[in-house]
């Protein structure tokens, strides 16, 4: 029944398009939200008749080799949450109905693709679904059909093609040495010592592709443009889930399949992670556009995740997955805040904004919560994941990297504080005296996400045991 995760969104898109009418246009977004809510529900409350049922609605004609282990479940939860938020923000930011309808359809298809990525057991199918998500992202980025959108989409396409080439090269090499593209076959083949060198090269190439998709330096260059020029609901999707599910998740899968990577791969991960953290943070300091700053911040946080993976221990893996989850929550929330700000004030330029918190209290307060979480202030969720990452680094004797990770938190704090100060605090900027708080539809998702951040932080030990530590089982 896991295949329903892919099939239901697909059939619902087909159904939505069979019936024309303005009613359909209106409910498309809500329908998408319903789908994501069902997905979240299925993960949070394990419904055994759903998960244990290995049958397939398409019967014997169509056998889909899908499996959902603990990592997939965490990813599915993230996908559900971020897509829900993206749809909700989209519902209230688009003006034309056809635009909303197209947006909803593309998001639901992307949802289907993302679910596919985390559920397949075959590396070539993984590639196919990564392409699905990529194509959907291309279209979504230029939804507004403005010059900036087209330019960013173009850059994203070019670099995505580069990523695809790297990944395909790697898949070819892996296919050659293992004879089959399923995860288990690769796992068996990787234990064979004669293939050692080719395996490492294959992993290295795949890593390059994953880095490009995930937005790590020096492959990150599409990210600031794409995430800042896209409509905000798409930025939420991109920054919150797409870079993780099409970049970091395949990387994690490959590393666990092939036994954790050898020394050189780990060193690459550590170095690239560190450089990404620093470059992303330093670049974010100098930005004047809210969304561009948030995009560079995503680059920086992806660096943290890769740094944690570079340790090669189970704690490192757990820390990486937990940080992915936290980042999807608070980055979505920060982008949603910027959507509210943009909608009410009409600008994203921080030099023109100021003192908004007096007029928009909810946005200001939740922005503070998101900021504290991303900087790693206890007892919010971000603190715990960063702590695990630093502990994992310490345990594997990478003291220098741990030190850099902690120092970068200071830079993170610096640019987020400057964002807060320039946008929300201080005197109200001229021309902005009459703005009001954003409508409920833009506030509710932000409040929900802020609540999730706080709750995950406070109930951390409980969540650690139930949700995060089982992820480590995939290493066995």
């Amino acid at each position: 029944m896991i295949s329903l995760f892919i099939l239901v969104p697909l059939t619902s898109v087909i159904l939505l398009n069979l019936f024309k009418g303005s009613l359909i246009n209106k409910i498309a977004c809500w329908f998408g939200m319903l789908l994501t809510l069902v997905q979240i529900y299925l993960i949070v409350f394990p419904v055994t008749c759903f998960w244990d049922n290995l049958s397939n609605p398409l019967g014997n004609y169509f056998i889909l080799n899908l499996s959902a282990d603990t990592l997939s479940k965490v990813m599915l939860l993230m996908i559900g949450i971020v897509t829900f938020i993206s749809l909700m923000i989209g519902q209230y930011t688009y003006h034309e109905e056809t635009q909303k309808f197209n947006f909803a359809n593309l998001i639901i298809l992307a949802l289907s693709g993302m679910n596919g990525i985390v559920l397949v057991t075959d590396i070539f199918s993984l590639y196919v679904f990564i392409e699905v998500v990529a194509v959907a992202s291309f279209i979504l980025i230029c939804l507004y059909k403005d010059k900036a959108g087209f330019e960013s989409a173009f850059k994203y396409i070019i670099l995505s093609i580069a990523a695809t080439v790297f990944m395909l090269l790697s898949i070819v090499l892996l296919f050659l040495i293992s004879g089959d593209t399923t995860f288990t076959a690769i796992n068996i083949a990787s234990k064979n010592p004669t293939y050692g060198f080719i395996l490492v090269v294959a992993i290295g190439l795949f890593t390059c592709g994953a880095f490009t998709k995930g937005g790590l330096v020096p492959f990150h260059s599409w990210l600031p443009d794409a995430h800042s020029s896209a409509p905000t609901s798409i930025s939420i999707l991109l920054s919150g889930i797409v870079i993780k599910v099409s970049g970091l998740y395949p990387l994690i899968r490959l590393l666990t399949m092939t036994g954790g990577g050898n020394e050189s791969i780990k060193n690459i991960l550590l170095i690239v992670g560190t450089v990404s953290i620093l470059v992303g943070a330093l670049a974010a300091l100098g930005q004047n556009d809210i969304k561009r700053m948030l995009a560079f911040s995503s680059v920086s946080q992806m660096g943290y995740i890769v740094l944690s993976l570079g340790t090669g221990t189970m704690l490192g893996l757990v820390g990486a997955v937990f940080h992915m989850f936290n980042h999807s929550v608070f980055k979505s929330q920060l982008f949603a805040n910027s959507a509210a700000v943009e909608k009410q004030t009409g600008t994203r330029d921080m030099n023109k904004l100021g003192g908004i918190a007096q007029k928009m209290p909810f946005t200001g307060t939740t922005s503070i919560i998101g900021m504290l979480s991303i900087c790693g202030i206890p007892p919010l969720a971000g603190f715990w994941s960063k702590l695990i990452i630093v502990i994992a680094l310490w345990q594997t004797a990478h003291y220098g990297y741990a030190f850099v990770a902690v120092i970068a938190s200071v830079i993170t704090l610096a640019y987020f504080l400057s964002l807060q100060r320039r946008v929300f605090f201080g005197k109200i900027a001229s021309g902005l005296e009459n703005i009001k708080e954003a409508k409920a539809g833009l506030i509710i998702p932000v409040v929900i996400l802020a609540a999730v951040t706080i709750l995950v932080g406070i109930f951390f030990p409980f969540i650690m045991e139930k949700l995060i530590m089982p992820v480590g089982d995939i290493l066995k």
Binding site: L64, N102, F129, I139, C142, L176, G179, F197, I198
Partner: protein, 166 residues
């Protein structure tokens, strides 16, 4: 006589022609030529069905679509061509360096490997592979098709309305 290597070199030249030329028609023809080279290679590597797909779709259908679209486009004047070429020349400086580096890497990879590469799946029955073994990919293809449809709708529909208004 290693024919494969010659074919690969011709393919690389055709691809370079596609990317470097300033006239769209030449580029489209270069693309078709690249596909043809790949098709020949595929036939030599004993996968005729893949070669047939490649030829018919890439070298045939896509080239037809490209050329019919190009025929709608106004060609660049000579002055514009000169300006374009001057701007782009600088970017091509990296190309030879890149090629040499890739060559070095390939030498390092290919030489020391004495691995016995196992033969790939022996199935030559495309239908069986497509239908029995790769169903998930088919699902993915369906989804991509739908995404593509929506993409075209999003990108081109309003343009149609505008042209209709005119």
């Amino acid at each position: 006589m290693n024919y494969d290597l010659i074919l690969l070199v011709i393919m690389m030249l055709a691809a370079l022609m596609t990317v470097l030329s300033t006239r769209l028609l030449i580029a489209a023809i270069g693309l078709a030529l690249t596909s043809v080279m790949i098709t020949i290679l595929m036939f030599k590597l004993k996968s005729p069905l893949a070669g047939v797909f490649e030829l018919s779709i890439c070298a045939g259908l896509i080239t037809v679509i490209f050329i019919s679209t190009i025929s709608f486009v106004k060609p660049l004047t000579d002055k514009e061509i000169d300006e374009r070429t001057k701007q782009r020349i600088k970017k091509y400086l990296a190309l030879p360096i890149l090629l040499i580096l890739i060559g070095i890497i390939l030498i390092f990879i290919i030489k020391p490997t004495t691995l016995q590469i196992p033969l790939a799946i022996q199935e030559t029955n495309v239908r069986k592979i497509l239908w029995d073994l790769r169903q998930v990919d088919l699902l993915g293809q369906v989804i991509i098709l739908l995404v593509g449809v929506f993409g075209i709708v999003v990108l081109f529909r309003d343009v149609q309305k505008e042209t209709n208004k005119k």
